[in-house]
């Protein structure tokens, strides 16, 4: 993998999947790719089959207080260097295709993001909550409330 540099990966992905894929370099020592939600699954398939990058470390969900109507998902990969796929979902209806048939290990991560942020992963069997109790009513816990900013 060291032979194929990360910049070349982005060029190949841009040509094959979509021109909207762009570089994000906000995280030091980590190579970020910005992708729209509908292209996340093809990009991950390309990463696994073409570039042999298969180790998914985590799926992070977060909300930026400057844009409260968006939820950002980051898929963190590792193959000797860190590689992350950033994607933005709408807060009103967060949906994204699931990847558990290509990476079975993503099951727990998707379930956690789904119950903490209310994200719906399509094309996967509905499973009971991972960490929250079975009778949890109410908002997904990690979502910021309407008048709440990150500090209070």
């Amino acid at each position: 993998m060291e032979s194929l540099k990360m910049e070349e990966i982005i060029i190949i992905l841009k040509n094959e999947i979509s021109q909207s894929i762009h570089l994000i370099n906000t995280i030091p020592n980590d190579f970020g790719i910005g992708v729209s939600p509908q292209y996340v699954r093809p990009v991950i398939e390309a990463l696994i089959h073409q570039f042999k990058i298969y180790h998914l470390s985590a799926i992070t969900g977060q909300q930026w207080v400057k844009e409260p109507s968006q939820i950002e998902l980051i898929y963190h990969f590792w193959n000797g260097k860190g590689l992350s796929i950033h994607t933005i979902l709408k807060r009103d209806n967060p949906q994204i295709p699931s990847i558990i048939d290509i990476i079975p290990g993503a099951d727990f991560y998707e379930r956690e993001v789904s119950e903490m942020y209310g994200v719906r992963f399509v094309n996967r069997p509905n499973m009971p909550p991972l960490l929250l109790p079975d009778d949890w009513q109410g908002v997904p816990p990690m979502l910021l409330l309407e008048n709440e900013d990150e500090q209070n």
Partner: protein, 360 residues
């Protein structure tokens, strides 16, 4: 034989932290299992954004009791990277020393639990006796046996005096004698091998598909060790061997961890003999400039992943922790199908579950 379902947990002599399994068995064969986590979920990620960075060290140390120091080490490295400060060399070495001692005591704990579950109480008593030596020396250095509170943002809190150094070196040489004896006993003991050899093998494809990390991956031949691949200082200046085995069954996982213990003892002695002089901390500002950072480090159970985002105030904006037990739990149902009922303790103990880590 009809199917019956054994509940294991949330309270059971087999597991040391609450997790619930419903294992379906038919006769003496296991058909499958149903798992439920979340009994120890404390919402650490939500709590972390309501506390400032220094208070968070106290919070993060309590994610897990066995690997508490490596959690705070990863967190502190992340915050220091956001601040743009570099801690003195002596502090780096002290952090690494506590990390390696924690790895030793975690593996000794795990070995005792495995031996107890297969009926070899003698090995359980002996390994936990050796573990007391490690915990006592950690208490002499830091004041705590389980949560050490050694790290702070900008360095470490406690120094290692020459007396401590002598005591540690003596303890490590005694421990090395015990670990060598243990390795010899396990190599020659027929009953331990008979219970663990060939049980629940994991193939390399399964490891790649389920993203398993740590000693479980190394026992099947996948050569990943973040101390070598993504070294935090001072691991980039220390030499050590990464141990792998090829078979991937419970026996390989057992022997691999004992050999890793020996490597950790060597590493501790190297660190102690090359401890640089200097300060142990550096003053760090309270407000952290906005930015994001990812820290990956090698906990006793595998790859520990931290994602930290700051927004210019003195409280973090987002903290994401992914502990190495989570993918190991993901592969557990696959391991538990089509084994004997009597092998369930061997498999569950071999995975080295730390449910408090997984639940956060």
């Amino acid at each position: 034989m009809n199917k019956i379902s054994i509940p294991i947990g949330p309270q059971h002599p087999l597991i040391k932290e609450p997790i619930s399994f419903n294992i379906d068995i038919s006769g003496e064969r296991v058909l499958g299992c149903d798992m439920r986590l979340g009994y120890v979920h404390r919402g650490i990620e939500r709590l972390a954004i309501k506390r400032n960075y220094t208070q968070n060290i106290h919070l993060i140390e309590r994610v897990c009791g066995i690997c508490s120091h490596v959690h705070t080490t990863a967190y502190c490295y992340g915050v220091e990277k956001l601040l743009g400060v570099e801690i003195p060399e002596r502090a780096q070495y002290i952090r690494a020393l506590m990390c390696e001692m924690e790895r030793i005591h975690s593996h000794l704990l795990w070995l005792g639990i495995l031996a107890k579950h297969i009926g070899l109480d003698t090995i359980f008593m002996h390994t936990w006796h050796d573990r007391e030596m490690v915990l006592d020396s950690m208490e002499v250095i830091s004041g705590g046996r389980v949560t050490h509170a050694v790290n702070k943002i900008g360095g470490v809190r406690c120094d290692i005096t020459p007396d401590h150094q002598d005591m540690l070196l003596t303890m490590l040489s005694e421990l090395r004698v015990q670990v060598d004896k243990l390795l010899e006993v396990m190599d020659h003991d027929g009953s331990l091998k008979a219970r663990t050899k060939g049980v629940a093998p994991i193939t390399v494809e399964q490891i790649k598909a389920y993203c398993v990390v740590g000693p479980i991956a190394r026992a099947s031949g996948v050569d990943i060790d973040l101390r070598r691949d993504a070294p935090l200082p001072p691991y980039d200046r220390l030499e050590f061997n990464v141990i792998t085995r090829q078979d991937g069954d419970a026996w390989s996982r057992t022997i691999l961890r004992v050999e890793e213990m020996r490597e950790s003892i060597n590493l501790c002695e190297k660190i102690l003999n090359n401890l640089p002089v200097g300060a142990i901390e550096i003053r760090a500002p309270r407000k952290v400039p906005p930015g994001e950072v990812i820290v990956r480090t090698e906990a006793p159970r595998g790859e520990l992943f931290y994602y930290l985002r700051s927004n210019g105030t003195d409280m973090p904006a987002r903290l994401k922790i992914r502990t190495p037990t989570l993918p190991a739990l993901g592969i557990l149902p696959a391991q538990l199908s089509s084994i004997h009922v009597a092998d369930i303790p061997v498999v569950l103990a071999g995975v080295d579950l730390c449910i408090a880590c997984a639940d956060r």
